[in-house]
Amino acid sequence: MEIRFHGRGGQGAVTGTRILATALYYEGKFTQGIPMYGTERRGAPVVSFLRIGEQRINERDLVHEPDMVIVLDPLLGKSVPITDGLKKGGIVLINHPHKGRETGLGGDFKVATVDATNIALDTIGRPITNTAILGAFAKVTGSVSLESIEKAINDQWSGRIAEMNINAVRKAYEEANMPEDVSDLPPQKVEVKPGERDVSSWRVFRPELDKEKCIGCKRCYILCPEVAIGMVDGKADINYPYCKGCGICVEECPVKAIEFVQETL
């Protein structure tokens, strides 16, 4: 079996792949977890692969026709062709608040979902969705037990961090939605082409400016690392396509004129 992971830098796709490789090894499988390294940074689309076999896996190329695609971010499909090469009848497991047929994905495959972002925010306090998605993987595929995943998490971390991640796994196992057939739905279109600068889909939280409160001090304008804030009529002005939702402006505003609001789907 071959799996492709899609995520964003910071969501832990690489660590998630390694934890699942370890958990499946505890189930008696031989695994190969392949991360792709390049110029990754927080928020940028990343990909990694997992091969599962009965004995040592000799192939050292990448996975091109996965049996399953695991997507750690609900909006990634807008900038990355996440279902490319997926085998007919394969499964997409995506971090999404709605059920499979309401994700906007369509094609000759099934879609399972889990609201990993909110589970991670509840249990870990940060939108790091890699461990939550593994809980859903256990439920959807039935190929790995929760015990093996928890054992693999304890190999990776200890103490409070391990505990929080194990809670995320358990909650996701409870809340995951089983695969739904989407073969009658139209395929999702990739809207943002590589090289374009629209990074709206990278945000989990969105800064919202109260113009009444803004005193025009330019602090956010100077500190925004993405130059997504301009000045219009002496007040800050957020250019959303350029905003990755890092929250520096929220932190730095001396009069608390910028609020951080979770994006909804």
Partner: protein
């Protein structure tokens, strides 16, 4: 004894090899994709698992230089990648001249980018170091342990590089068996200083010292001796590989080459490192369809297994050599040139084809290898194929 496995990345397997060999000195300078090797080693030392001296140098040149000094007295280790290895080039000649059994891990990184190819080690081809190549993380760990035994053998006493592809091995996690420390200790005896540290040791080392510095000795002798030692290494590598099999139940071909499914074949693919690993899958699929082609994976590049290829020429009518390297201005890749050189002494020479593949990390897929295998089989069947050397 219960076997201990861990799902780990290739770099961790390398760090384990150094730890199990009980190295006493590690000098390193971090460079992607080698960095985590020295991070893991630093962790092992900080936690007290490994009793060794760790020195972060200001660059690779001084890394090699300090490891030279250290290895005169204790078992030493260093690791690097791509441009870092190029920066070591100058003192590397010194290491082999002083006949120091220093072991270095190289995580392949292109000299023209971040992704892997063999141009880093191939650029050190004539520094007098032995060079072994690995296909997976288990092989990295095992080869690391064997490397110390090979390099320190009194018949060899040469520095040694063991290498694996960056990214493809360095960051990929897979289950690796960790041998028990007591068994490694029994397999690999404690380091024997090649130079005297105390006056009473001076007598036995004097011979080597005087040859090195005596102006009346033939100036070429240093290379003649190194050459003899490298040729001796062929025997030593085979012995160590067989002994490793006895202790740990794993071996890699005969230590010099691994012939994979080569019974009753007309042709062979030849490669090194992870391309050879992927080629095993291609060969499995080809043989399932009745195609008579096997694989020869080169495990030891230095010393080069001439005799093995002369023997393989006895059953293979064609060899398709896949090189993750190039020697610009020479026709074909570097192992291709070496193989043709070895085959010159054979009466009935097989057809030899060459494919440059996987340079700067260009992906080599199973399909690509099957196409190369088809071309090689055509040549084995007496068809005229061209070009002889191609960029795959």
């Amino acid at each position: 004894m219960a076997k201990k496995f861990e799902v780990m990345v290739g770099n961790k397997a390398v760090a384990y090899a150094a730890k199990l060999a009980r190295v006493k000195y590690v000098s390193a300078f971090p460079i992607t994709p080698q960095t985590t090797i020295v991070q893991y080693l630093a962790d092992m030392m900080a936690s007290g698992e490994l009793d060794a001296e760790y020195v972060t140098m200001e660059g690779e040149l001084s890394c090699q230089a300090s490891a030279i000094t250290a290895s005169t007295t204790v078992r030493s280790f260093t690791a690097t990648s791509g441009p870092g290895l190029l920066y070591m080039h100058h003192p590397m000649h010194m290491t082999s001249w002083a006949r120091l059994p220093l072991v270095m891990a190289v995580v392949h990184r292109s000299t023209k980018g971040m992704q892997p190819d063999q141009m880093d080690t191939m650029s050190q081809r004539d520094t007098g170091w032995l060079m072994l190549e690995c296909q997976n993380s288990q092989e990295l760990l095992d080869t690391g342990i064997m490397s110390f035994k090979i390099a320190e053998d009194p018949r060899v006493r040469l520095p040694l590089i063991f290498a694996g592809d960056g990214y493809i091995l360095s960051y990929t996690s897979e289950p690796v068996e960790i041998p028990a420390q007591e068994e490694v200790d029994a397999f690999l005896p404690p380091y024997k200083r090649p130079y005297p540290m105390y006056p009473e040791e001076a007598e036995e080392a004097r011979a080597l010292m005087s040859e090195m510095w005596n102006p009346f000795v033939d100036p070429q002798k240093v290379w003649a001796d190194q050459q003899q030692a490298a040729m001796n290494a062929k025997t030593v590598i085979k012995e160590v590989n067989a002994e490793f099999e006895k202790w740990f139940g794993r071996s890699y071909g005969n230590g010099l080459v691994e012939e994979y499914k080569c019974e009753d074949v007309d042709a062979v693919l030849v490669s090194m490192g992870t391309i050879a690993s992927t080629a095993k899958t291609a060969i499995d699929q080809m043989q399932k369809n009745g195609k008579k082609i096997g694989l020869v994976a080169i495990k030891s590049f230095k010393p080069f297994p001439d005799e093995e290829f002369q023997r393989i020429a006895g059953y293979a009518k064609a060899m398709g050599v896949i090189d993750r390297n190039v020697s610009t201005g020479t026709r074909g890749g570097i192992t291709f040139t070496e193989i043709r050189h070895a085959l010159y002494d054979v009466d009935e020479r097989p057809v030899t084809l060459n494919f440059h593949a996987g340079m700067r990390g260009k992906e080599v897929r199973v399909e690509d290898l099957k196409r190369m295998a088809e071309k090689t089989l055509k040549a084995a069947n007496g068809e005229k194929v061209s070009p002889i050397v191609e960029w795959a």
